[in-house]
Structure formats: C-alpha cells, structure tokens
Amino acid sequence: MKKIIIAFSLVLLTVVSCKKELNIIDTNGPSPSAAASEAGVISLAQGTIYKNGFYDLKYSDGVYGRFWAGATGFHEMMGDIIGVEAANAYINQIGCPNKVTLDNSSVLLNPSAINTQYALLRSVNVNSQSGGNPTYYEWAYMYNMIVASNTILNLSGKSAYTSEAVSKKATIQAWAYFWKGYAYARIGSIYYAGIKQNATFEDQSTNGNYVSKESIIAESNTMFDNAATQLGAVTSTTAYNEVLGKLIPSFLQTGKGGIFSKAELLRNIYTMKARNILVNTPIAAMSAAQWSSILMLTTSGIKSTDLIFTGRTDANGDFLGTTIADKVASSATATGTYKLSERWIQDFKTGDQRFANNVRSLNPGIGNFNQDRGNSFNTRYTLKKAGYGISGVIVYANSDAGANEITLCGTFEENELMKAEATLYVGGFSAASITSAMAMIDNVRNYQGAGLAPTLAADAVAAKEELRRERRIALAFKGLSFYDARRMDIIDPSKSRTGCVVLAGTSGALNTNATINYGFLDYWDVPDNELAYNPAAAGSAPIKNPK
C-alpha cells in the first residue's frame, strides 16, 4: 500500500515542476533589442529597405511578382510597354484601353464586363479584394519602407557606435532619409493622396490625416534635402565608406552599383528631385520655373560614370525573383507572362542595336491571345533572354542569378533625358537648344549601345518626337513609363494615341495606323485596404481622384 502511494506520489512530483516551465522563449527570431547596436541598426537598415520595401508583403502572386516585377510592372502595363493575358489582380484590365479604332475604322472595345479602367479600378479597389486589388501593392511596399526609415532614424539616433559616431550616424540617417524620400516620391506620383507617417515599427500606429499628392511630393523633397543635410554632416570618408559598404548588399556592389561617394549620392538625390517635378506635371502645364529647376537639378544630377542604386537577382532570389523584362523574355518559342507591346516596338528607330540585341520575333500566330481578354495585347515580339550577344549593347532580360542589373532609383539616362527636355523648353526650342538636347539624347543612345547615327531634329515637333521615343525606349521596364503617358496627355478618356501598330481580330491582322483611346485614371485613389483600417480623419485632403 505504501509503495503504491509512494509510486503515485513520485510520478506526480517528477512532473509538477514550477511555473518556470511555462516561460518558453520564442527563439525563431531576434528580439527588437538586437537592432539597438551599430551592427544591428545597419543590418536593420539594409534588411528592412530591401526586403520590407521591395520584397515582403502580406499578399503576393507569382504571376506578377514582387515590387520590381509587379508593382512597377503595373506602370509598364499602363504605359503600354507590356500587355498581359493573365487576369491575376486584374492585370489584363488595368492596361486594357477603352477603345481601339483600327485602320479600317472598325472599333474594338474593351471586352471586359467592366469595360473602362476607371470603373474597373473603382470596382476592385475594395478591401474585400485583398491581394486582387492592384492599387494595393505600391502603397503597401512604400509605407513599409517609410516605417522602416523612421525606425532606422530612431534607432540610429540612440545607438552606440564603436567609433566615428557622428559620421556613421549621419551616413545611416542619410540612407534612411533617401529611401523615405524615394518612397514618398513613388506614393505621391501615383496616388491621389497620402499620409505623412513618422511612426516607427514598434509604435504600431498611423494617422488618418490624408494630405494631397502635392504635399506628399513636397514631403519627398524634404526627405531628400534631409538626406543631403546628413551627408553634409559626414566628416569621415572612411566611416562613410565602411557604413555604406554594409548598407548596400554585397552582391549589388558590382556593375553600376557600389559604394558611391558622397558626391555621387548627392547627384542621385538631385535626379530624384528633378523626377518629382517632371513626372507630376503635365507637359502642357509645366511652368518656366519648373523647367529651370529641372535643368538646374539635372545639371547637378547623375553623370554617366556615377554609381547608382541597382538590383540583381542572386542564387536564392533574396531580393529579386524576376524582373519586368524577365517576365517578358523567353528562350525559344514561347512568350513570357508579360507580352511585349507593339507600340513599344514601333518606337524603336530603324537600326537600333538595342532592338537587334534584345527583341525576338515570334512564330506567326503564336502571339495572338485570347481576344476576350483584351483588345491590344497581341504581339509579334518578345524579349530574348540574355540578348543576342551584341557587344556593348544593353540587355533587358536575363533571369540567371546575378546576370542582369536593374536600376532602382535615378539613372544617367533618366537624368540626361530630363536635362534634354528642360534644355528644349528653357531654350524655347531654339536651334541651339535642339542641337544641345539632341546631343544629350545621343549620349543616352550611346550609353546604352544603340549604335544609331547622331540625332537630328529639324524643328520642335521633331525634337519632341525624338525625346518621346528615346524616353520610351531608354526608360522602359523601370516602372516609369506610365508617368510619361500621363504627362504627355494621352491617357485621358478624351485623348488618344494615333498611328499605332495593333494586331487585331482572331487572326491578328496587322494595323499600322490604329488609334488607341486608353482612358486610364491619372492618379489612383487611396487603396481601400488602408481606408478600411485607417479611415480619413476630418480635414483630410480628398482620398479619391475626382475624375
């Protein structure tokens, strides 16, 4: 009997230990305090910008991909660089024109049930669409980046540094301000309103005071200025190089990417500030002061030899899976998920080596897609993966690990073309200004290995056309094309692009003088996923584009 009781008691005692056993530590991730050191804040400053800002989101879809294939890809769809048949997140509809008038005057309407992009965006920008709402992505990535920047600014101010505290802190803060400026630039350039968000990740808070897109762009410029100010506070180049070398992922410190000097970083800032002006004002509404500002900023902007912000795939796809161009390209017979637009192909000048090196013709009939999915996305072309190997010529697509470089922020090409445009307008399209601007276009063409003869333009119209075409070609696949379509005033429902190449009908009949009425919304409404959980407070700017 005693034995039995002792046996039962012993079993009980061995198991009933103290409450300490309840204290299970989650060891699957570091605690936030791990980011409070110099190494920690630098690690956070790299990881949160590249991963949270461009890669990790609660919704994603392999068809359109992450920021550098999806969110920016939507711009290329609306900019008519690419078309899509797949319907994921309505990507075949956000770039589908309202109307295509063919050479024989017959009309192809948007075949979708919701047959204008205005109506589509209003219909799908509802919270219940979750990841099916295409307007959600850019907003979410960029606010991830803004909150990351705020956290980096906060932690870098509190962190202890092993040495050169002033310079290291200033370098980290310049980095954070730059990306915050970049994120606001993207928000203000596509959404009708935004939020000024200064909370950190740990704050877990936001505000409902929506401000106009103009205020957001102003905020972007302020952040770029703050970045410049912080650069000015850097006294030790060694410390700056050391920190920047750790902020930029090592596999991106190659090609045009690398540890740029303070001066180079400043020039990157000026180019971004010029973009903020250029892409957010229709050409017709640009003031002389704005053109002068752009000229001034681009004159101080990125040079052809400068290092810039770049992206590459790596073996494990840590930062990029595929790019926009990768989603177009294929190696042999097939087309990619994204289809190359005939309107982009037609903007190449004859003999352009960029075309020769990258564009592959499809077998007849292969590029004709389901007519019920769109009215303009049939194509005869696609991109050749890794190009045709013409030396010195840019390659658009190569999904092999590390093989291809994309540009994240400003580029020499963008800066030079903005400079050319400002030169024309500031110079009143004088012969001298045209000559000067055409030379800048040639700089870009040569930089990319176009192999074209020097550009000549007899008059303002010809000069504008050269500029338009070169911007279309040189800045394609970078998430900038829609800005041009908007500021060149062809996307309004009442406007159109004429002289278009369109393959129409079930058999893809070639039209060379079609007219496309795009009818795209110029600035998107604030995504409903934000509004559902953060409604606009009293006194907010309109959150919906009145168009």
Binding site: V16, L22, G29, S130, S331, T335, S507
Partner: protein
C-alpha cells in the same frame, strides 16, 4: 496452507526481526480464522452471449453491506451464507439476482438498449448512459465492416449524431473535415480533441490510426464535457478505446481485403467535343493563314488557336476531326485504384496479464496514372498486468509507418492541369528522344500542363513515423478511492523529399521555357534539378493523474439515503514541441544519380520550432440520488506558456450538469406511459472551454533573412500582439433520452430516442486581421470576433425485428447546426478563398463562410433587392429575354445579364444532415448492413467549372441554346460561345457568380455490406470465424450538383470558413471490397 506459510517464514525469514514476523503471523492467523469461520460464496460472472468473463461486475449480498468485485477472469468470492441472495450487476448488462453457492456461475445478458451503454468520455468515471446529463455518442467498432482506407476517421462518417464528418478529398491519406458543434474558432479550425484511452493524441493524424486497434469510439460534442479536457477541448472530443485481450485461449484474428476504387464523376464532368476555333474550308484549325501543326521534336503547336468566344457568330459546333483530334484526358490519366488491407491480431489473457498484438498494413494506389501510392503499417500492442490486487499497469503502443510516394499528394494539381487543357493535346505523345513535353503552347490553354512530364521529371518520398505510447497505472482501494495515472508520449517524425530531375535536355521544356522545380527562383534549363528535404518533428506528452473518491451513503455509511457521490481531482500536464526544417538544393550536376550534396546551390529555407506547455487542475463533484437524479459541478484551471508573459495567470473553465430520470418516479412507473416509454430522462449541461493563442502570437520579434551572403534584420509581416486573449466558448445544452417499448411481438420490440438542443457562444475569437498598410506591416492577431452557434442533434434506434434467427436494428442520426458571426471588433475582416475573385468577408450578423458575388439574372424584370428597382431598366428590358436554358440573355450579344453589384449567396453549410443505418443479422451467421447519408441544403462554388468555362473546355459549350434573333425576331438555336464565355466574365473575369454556386445536397449510399461466417455454417472445429465480407462504398449518389462529387471541399482540412468551394478537388471513390476475416 497455514503450515506452508509457517514453513516459509521459518526457512527464509529467520534472520529478520522476529517481532515483525510475529505481527504478520498474528494478522494472518486472525484473517484466516475469520475466513474459515464464515461461509464463503464463490463464482464466476460471464457474458451470456459468448461466455467471455466479465471483470469488474459488482456482487452485492442482499440486505447486507457486503459486496465484491469480479476479477479479470470473472471469478469472485464473497462472504455470505450459502443460499444468500446475491445481486450481480454490471453496466451494460441486465442485473440478476441469484442464490449464492460455492459455484455460483452467472451469465449476464447484455442490455440491448443503447441507453444502457457505459461511457467514460466527459465524465471521467465510467457511467451508464442512463445517468449522464449530456449527449455522448458511442460507436462500437468491433462488429463493423471496416472501410477500405483502414483508418478510424473514415469509419466514423455518418455514424455520429450531431457531427458532420465529411470526406472532402478522395486522395489516399487525405484528412476528413469534422465539425462537432458549430464553428468556435477561426484560426483553430474545427478539428476536435482526439484521445486514446484517456490521453490526448496530438502529433498523429486521426486518419493514421488503425481501425483494427480500437473497440469503441465515444464522441462528446458539448463544452460541458469538453471542459474536463481544458482549453483544447473546445471543439469537442473524440475518444478511442483500445482493444484488449480477453480471457480465454489465445485468439488469432486475420483479416485481409482488396478494394477497387474508381473516382466518382456524379455530375458527368467532361470536355466539349466541339470547338469554335477559326478553321479553313476543310475544317482544319488555322490562325490567320497558318495551319496549326504539331511539332514532334519540340512537342508544341506552331500557332495559337484563333477565336473570339464573345463573338455572336462563334459557335462550338466544329468537330475535332482534322489537324486537331479529341483526346479524353480523363481516360488518359484516371485509373482504377486498388487498396489492400491485411491485419493479424493475437490476443488473450492469462493469469494476471492480458495482451493484444496486432500488425496491419494498408496500401492504396493513386487514381491517377503514375502518381505513386500510399502505404501505412500499424503495429499495435496492448498489455495489461495486474501487479498486485487491484493494481494494474497497462501499456498500449501504436507504431505507425506511413510511406507516401504520391507525386501530387492532393491530386488537385493533376486535375487542375487537365481541366485547363483543351482536349486536342495528346499528352501521351513522347518526343523523338522519348521524353514527355511539359507545355504544348498557348494553343492548348495557358493554364495547361502535362502531368506525364511532372511524373517523368519529379518524384516524392514522404516517410512518416508515429509513436503513440500510453502507460496507465491504476489502483483501486477496497473502498472509496481510486488512483489513476496516465502518461502518454506521442511522437511524429516526417521527412519529405521532393526530387526534380535535370530538364535541360528536354526539348519541349527548353523551347517553352517551362521547367518544374519548387524553390529555385532562377529556373532555366541549366539550373534545373532540385532536391527539397523537409523535416517535421512533433513530440507531445500528456501526463494525467486522477484521484476519484466514491461514496455510497447506504453501503458506506449505513444511511438510508440512496446517494452516491464521486469526487474527481485531477492534474493534467501537456507539452508539445514542434520543429520544422526545410532545405533545398538546385542546379543538378550533369551525371546521375545525384543527391543534394552535389547541387549547385544549397539553402536552408526554414528552421523553426515551437513549444507549448499547459497544465491545470480539475475538480469535479458528482451526486446521484438513486437512479432518479444526479448533478455535477466542476471547474478546471489551466496555466499555459502562452499566457506566461502576462504573469502566468490561470484560466478557469467552469462546468455543471444535471439530469432527472422521470421514468423512475412512482407516478411514471405505475402509469400506463411506462408501457410505452419505459425510460425517460431529461438533462441539462453547461460548460466552458477555450483555445489559446498560437505560438508567437504574443511575441513581437524581428525577422531575420538572407540577403546575399549576409543575414539581415527585417520586420515580420505579422508581428505578435501582446494583448491577445484566450478564446472562450460557452455552451448550454438541453436534451432528453427515452427508451421505448413498442410492440409485444418480434417486430419493433424496443427503441430509444436521444435529443439534444445546444447553444454556444464563442468570444474573443482570434484571427490575424489586416492592419492599415501604413503601419509598415501586414496583419496582426486580434481577438476580432464573437461567434454564435446552435443546433439540434438526435438519434433514433429501433430493434425492428428481434427473433431467434433474425435481428434487424435500425439507427438514424440527425444533425442540424448553424454558426454566425455575432460580433466583429474593429473593421471588417477579409479571408482569402479560391471562390472566383471574391474573398470571404466576415461580417457581424452574417453566417460564417458565405460567399459574395454577382447574380446572373433569371427573369428579365428581376428586382434588385438592394434598390427595389429592376436590375435591367424597363426601357432596356426589350433587348433581353430568358433563353431556353433559363438564364436571361442579351438578344444581340447573346451574353448573360448580371447584376453590377455583389450579393451574398447565403449560408453554404448544410441545413441538416442525416444518416440511416440498417443492420440485419441472421443467426450469427450472416450480416447485412447498409448506410445512407443525406446532406441537405449544402452549397458548393463550382470553381472547377468556372475555370473550364474560361478557355471553352467545358462540355457545356457544345450545348445549343435558343435565343431570339433581334433582327429577324425568329428563335435561333446555336451553341453560342458568347453565352458561356459571357458567364465566365460576367461581373469580372473569374468573378464570383451565382451561376457556379450550386446546390450540393446529396443522398449517398455510403456503405453496403454483406458478411457470411462460413465457420458457423460448416461448424469447422478449428476456426472460430471464417467470414467473407463483400462491401461497397459510395455506390449511389443522388444530387443536382454538376461537379464530380458534392461532398468535396477545397479549403484546408477542418477550415472554419473555407468549406464551400470545389476547386478541382479529387472526388471520393466508388469502391468495391472483398474481404476475409478468420479467427482461430
């Protein structure tokens, strides 16, 4: 004997303190003296049915306070005079009064009424159902014909009143959906707590447990009982009782069966034999001036098909008879599957020990060609030892080894690819090198691919080892107290290896840039070849010790009050450790064979663990007043590791129940009603149970990720929330049980009815709810909901025919339940689904799981319920008419008319489900049984069909419809593709629409079987049983659903909300089984 003891003491104990020996001897002498001076009555209690001994029967000497309990071999001894009246009773058997003698053999007859069963689950102490105050269902497995899958879960379908157990995926090894009482949790799903002999089983899948190892199943659905099992019991409890060896000679049972399985296609899903592609005068399919040709080198079409399905002149009326031919892909890829079950059991009992050893093997192959197979082996042992009088130790073990080579485990990948392939692709064609092609080009459909390619270049090996080990030490004091300790360890180790072979030499894959892999982010020909190695390890421990104090006021205290009490005090400890590890290697070397160490790129994707500890105490006090009434109250207090950060507060769950057996009052007993209703009990119960937050849901950590060679900090997409609380579910149930005496002859002799109505409310229901993206992350756990459920469960048992030769029993089970969202805290919550383009939105006041979508009109003047106005303006109504297929179409465009707005389609869950079970046995020789299941009012979104509408693949395209030509005003009949494609893109492409939301009610002949025991017929001396079993499962289904099977669901198994979508889910199988059961 006395002499022997003295001798023993003298020889062996002479060195021990003599004083002690004297004391022992004195005691022995006294006790022996008392024994020889009193009359001794001896005997044995057996089961009248088969003569097997009954242990634990109580033997009371009438008029005395003397009693005994029968031993494991049924024998007993009790102090009583010869000829004294002994009352022998045992739960589940009719009591008998006999005269005591030195050889009092008593054969008890089983009480055939189900109400007399004893149950354990939810009461802690084995109690007759007659004295239980809540609904508890029990299923006796031992006599049932076993299902072909050989697992317990599948066996239970339709057998539990109140429960919805659905076989939602027909793939081998696929789990079932189980809902006991409503939806209580969103993230926790609906799976109940699974227990074996009182110990929780958490690591092992319910459908891995061998049906041969268990004798009985008890299911407690309500919270009043679930409270006993703590926070984990909120979804109810399913408890399995292991078979034990029975006294007598060793029993050897061998069973063997073979089953053929065929995928159901109740709705006749098929592909259109006619197309609407552009053709030349010779009916050859062309694109522009290009004839579509098939390249035998690259296995691809030279051009896309050219057609515009929305064109009013596009008709699906051209045969595939020229350059494109029709292939029946279902014939090409579906196959008859076979399942083999073999099992051997040896059991028995000798001296103080009982034993059972069993080995079973179940092997099923896929219903898809070359898709591998599924094999499970179970080794079971159950050993009981009586260490000392009333002290027993039991060890039960089940080892499960599961080997699964199903290359598409759910089969949905194969079905999706086939259903998105236009029927002219010959996937069996190999290229000139003898390889299959992956993708034949956009002509075949952009979502098409060839499963043959997948099977040629990839393979799966999924090995799983489960250990379910329980120990139980039990001591029964002579009076009052019983101590019981249980310890269970449940372990599962799973290793999954996916292999993708190098594909750089496959001409089709290279040409189409189509390579298969899993993690490889840079797939191209020269980086193909991948091995993924995935490991999961779960170790779960459950320790439970219980002290039960029983008193009987009459027997123990001599009081004239017929009160019995039992007090249960328990300590319960549970710990779960889970670890997962995924690694991949890709970029295979050029040689074969190769392994992961030779891969060009190697990376660990996940290395993550979670732990959980909970412990608590339970006190439950029960009173019974005679057989008339009883009540119990209890409370459980649980600590858990997930509340530790809050200072380790315990969560309390109270419970209580009461019953009154009205039929035991004199007015009833004496009344005429007793002639019809000889038993009537009303009962009520209340209980609370809960669900703890998931691991990490309270922690705010940084993420860490690779960025090239560096590891960097990131922000998690879903950080924890320090403030999340435990989910608590409270339930009240009311019910009655009645026993019926019907007719006096052989027919309809007895019956019983049980009825329960329940109402449940869950508060603080947790979910990872979206946050505003401007917070910089995606979502956060929040106690976002209140849920409310109510329902009815009922069962009726009838002894339809009771004669010497025949016994016909009939059971019907009924369940009706509904759940709605009673409260949403904060903003709306959206949950993603695969139903068209619309996700589930969880809104206050609405039923959980309902879909929203566009309405396709059925009347031209149909009124919009939101506006009260017609959907189509009166002025425009003339352009529309109801086409011959019942849908409103635009006469000009031939397209259907749809609402511009989205509407709720209502609750997709069944309004009720019922099953009807008949068992007829003839002279213990032949048994015939049949089960019909009826699910009424359920709906499924036929996403499979929606996708088949996209590319003109569904056979519906060829169905002509009649629409008036607005120009000629004459009816015209054509297979208008504009209508079908118009359905697909009504509202929005792939948008959710009621057209695909179908009635999925069904009546199914779930099971029919006949068994014959040849041993009984031929009286073979050597065999106790030689039984031949013929059975069929899912042989007949009546439904209006047009998909393969109305029972499927594509949501994750036991999802709380995603229960109404059929997205290329594998249908159940129609199966025929031949089996042999032999007992020696």
């Amino acid at each position: 004997m006395l002499f022997f003891l003295f001798t023993f003491a003298n020889i062996h104990l002479n060195k021990i303190n003599m004083l002690k020996i004297k004391v022992i001897l004195a005691i022995l002498c006294v006790s022996l003296f008392s024994l020889v001076t009193q009359a001794q009555v001896k005997g044995k209690v057996t089961d009248a049915k088969d003569g097997s001994p009954i242990s634990g029967a109580s033997i009371n000497v009438k008029g005395k306070r003397t009693y005994a309990i029968s031993n494991s071999d049924g024998t007993f001894e009790v102090k009583a005079d010869q000829g004294a009246a002994l009352e022998i009773s045992y739960v589940g058997f009719n009591s008998q009064t006999v005269k005591g003698s030195s050889n009092t053999d008593v054969a008890l007859t089983q009480d055939s009424k189900s109400l007399s069963e004893i149950v354990v689950t939810g009461v802690g102490v084995a109690t007759s159902k007659k004295k239980i105050a809540f609904a508890v269902e029990s299923v006796n497995l031992s006599n049932q014909v076993k299902v072909a899958t050989g697992d317990v879960a599948q066996q239970l379908v339709g057998q539990i009143a109140g429960a919805q157990i659905s076989s939602t995926n027909g793939s081998p090894g696929a789990p079932l959906n189980i809902v006991l009482r409503g939806i209580n949790s969103i993230q926790g799903g609906t799976l109940p707590l699974i227990m074996i002999d009182g110990v929780e089983v958490r690591a092992t899948d319910f459908n891995s447990l061998d049906v041969n190892a268990y004798e009985r199943v008890e299911v407690v659905q309500g919270a009043a009982a679930a409270t006993l099992y703590g926070a984990q019991g909120a979804n109810g409890v399913i408890q399995l009782f292991s078979k034990k060896g029975k006294p007598g000679k060793p029993l050897i049972e061998i069973s063997s069966s073979v089953t053929s399985n065929e995928l159901l296609n109740i709705g006749g899903v098929s592909k259109s034999r006619f197309h609407a592609f552009a053709t030349n005068a010779n009916n050859e399919v062309i694109n522009g001036s290009n004839l579509l040709t098939f390249d035998p080198t690259n296995l691809e079409y030279s051009a896309n098909v050219a057609y515009s399905a929305l064109s009013v002149t596009s008709f699906a009326n051209k045969a595939y008879d020229k350059n494109l031919q029709f292939y029946d892909h279902y014939k090409m890829f579906f196959q008859k599957g076979y399942a083999f079950n073999n099992s051997v059991t040896i059991s028995g009992s000798k001296d103080k020990m009982d034993y059972l050893l069993s080995a079973s093997n179940n092997k099923q192959n896929s219903n898809f060609k070359n898709n591998g197979d599924y094999q499970r082996s179970n080794l079971t042992s159950n050993l009981g030892i009586e260490l000392a009088k009333n002290l027993t130790l039991r060890s039960s073990t089940q080892l499960v080894y599961t080997k699964n080579t199903l290359n598409d485990a759910t089969g949905r990948g194969v079905l999706y690819s086939l259903n998105n392939t236009r029927p002219f692709a010959n996937y069996d064609q190999k290229d000139l090198d003898g390889n299959y092609g992956a993708y034949f080009g956009n002509a075949v459909g952009v979502n098409s691919y060839n499963p043959n390619y997948v099977n040629q270049y990839s393979s799966t090996l999924d090995n799983k080892v489960d250990v379910v080990q329980n120990f139980n030490l039990n001591y029964k004091f002579r009076k009052y107290l019983e101590l019981d300790t249980k310890y269970g360890i449940n372990f599962q180790q799973q290793n999954v290896i996916y292999r993708y072979e190098d594909q750089e030499l496959n001409k089709n894959a290279v040409s189409q840039d189509y390579f298969i892999g899993n993690y490889n982010p840079n797939t191209s020909g020269n980086t193909t070849g991948e091995i993924d190695n995935i490991n999961y390890r779960t170790t779960f421990q459950n320790f439970l010790t219980t002290a039960t104090l029983r008193t009987d006021f009459e027997k123990d205290f001599g009081l004239k009050i017929p009160i019995k009490t039992s007090t249960q005090v328990a300590f319960d400890y549970r710990k779960n450790n889970f670890r997962q590890f995924y690694a991949y290697g890709y970029d295979a070397p050029i040689f074969t064979p190769w392994n992961a160490s030779q891969a060009g790129v190697y990376k660990v994707v996940a290395d993550r663990g979670t732990s959980f500890v909970t412990y608590g105490t339970l006190i439950n006090q029960r009173f019974d007043y005679s057989d008339i009434a009883g009540a119990s109250v209890g409370v459980r207090r649980d600590f858990s590791s997930l509340s530790y950060v809050e200072g380790g507060k315990a969560q309390s769950f109270p419970r209580g129940d009461a019953y009154v057996n009205i039929s035991n009052f004199n007015f009833w007993k004496g009344g005429k009603i007793n002639d019809v209703v000889n038993y009537f009990k009303i009962r009520a119960a209340y209980g609370e149970a809960g669900g703890q937050p998931g691991f990490g849901q309270r922690d705010i950590l940084l993420g860490a990720a690779n960025l090239g060679p560096n590891n960097v900090f990131t922000f998690p997409i879903t950080p924890g929330n320090k403030n999340v609380q435990i989910e608590v579910s409270k339930e009240t149930e009311l019910g009655f049980d009645m026993g019926l005496k019907l007719l006096s002859g052989k027919w309809l002799k007895n019956g019983s009815i049980s009825f329960t109505q329940w109402d449940r409310k869950s508060d603080n229901v947790l979910y990872n709810v979206d946050v505003a993206p401007s917070l910089g992350y995606g979502s956060a756990p929040q106690n976002a909901y209140g849920l409310g459920s109510n329902g009815i469960q009922a069962s009726l048992n009838l002894n339809v025919l009771t004669s010497k030769k025949f016994a016909w029993d009939f059971t019907t089970n009924f369940s009706k339940q509904t759940s709605k969202i009673t409260k949403v805290t904060g903003a709306e919550v959206v949950i993603t689904s695969a139903a068209g383009s619309t996700n589930y939105v969880l809104r206050e006041g609405e039923k959980i799981g309902q879909l929203y979508g566009y309405i396709i009109l059925k009347a031209v003047d149909q009124i919009n319920p939101k506006t009260g106005q017609p959907f189509i303006d009166k002025a425009n109504q003339g352009n529309f008419e109801v086409a011959s297929n019942g849908w409103v179409v635009n006469k000009t465009t031939k397209r259907p008319a749809n609402s511009a707005d989205k509407f709720s389609f209502g609750d997709p869950n069944p309004k009720f489900n019922m099953s009807f079970i008949n068992t007829i046995s003839f002279k213990n020789f032949a048994t015939f049984s049949m089960q019909l299941d009826w699910i009424y009012g359920s709906h499924l979104y036929n996403q499979t069909k929606s996708w088949m509408y996209r590319d003109g693949i569904s056979s519906n395209y060829a169905n002509p419809i009649t629409i008036t030509n607005p120009t000629t005003n004459q009816p015209e009949t054509q297979a208008y593709t504009a209508f079908y494609r118009g359905i697909y893109q009504a509202g929005s492409n792939n948008g959710t629409k009621d057209y695909f939301y179908e009635n999925a009610s069904f009546l199914r002949l779930r099971n029919i079987s006949a068994s014959f025991d040849l041993a009984k017929f031929t009286k073979l001396a050597f065999f106790k049983k030689t039984q031949l079993v013929l059975s069929g499962r899912n042989l007949i289904t009546k439904t209006k659903y047009t998909g393969y099977d109305p029972e499927v669901s594509s949501g994750s198994s036991n999802s709380s909300f995603d229960r109404a979508v059929d997205h290329n889910t594998i249908p159940n199988t129609r199966s025929y089984t031949v089996g042999f059961n032999i007992s020696l």
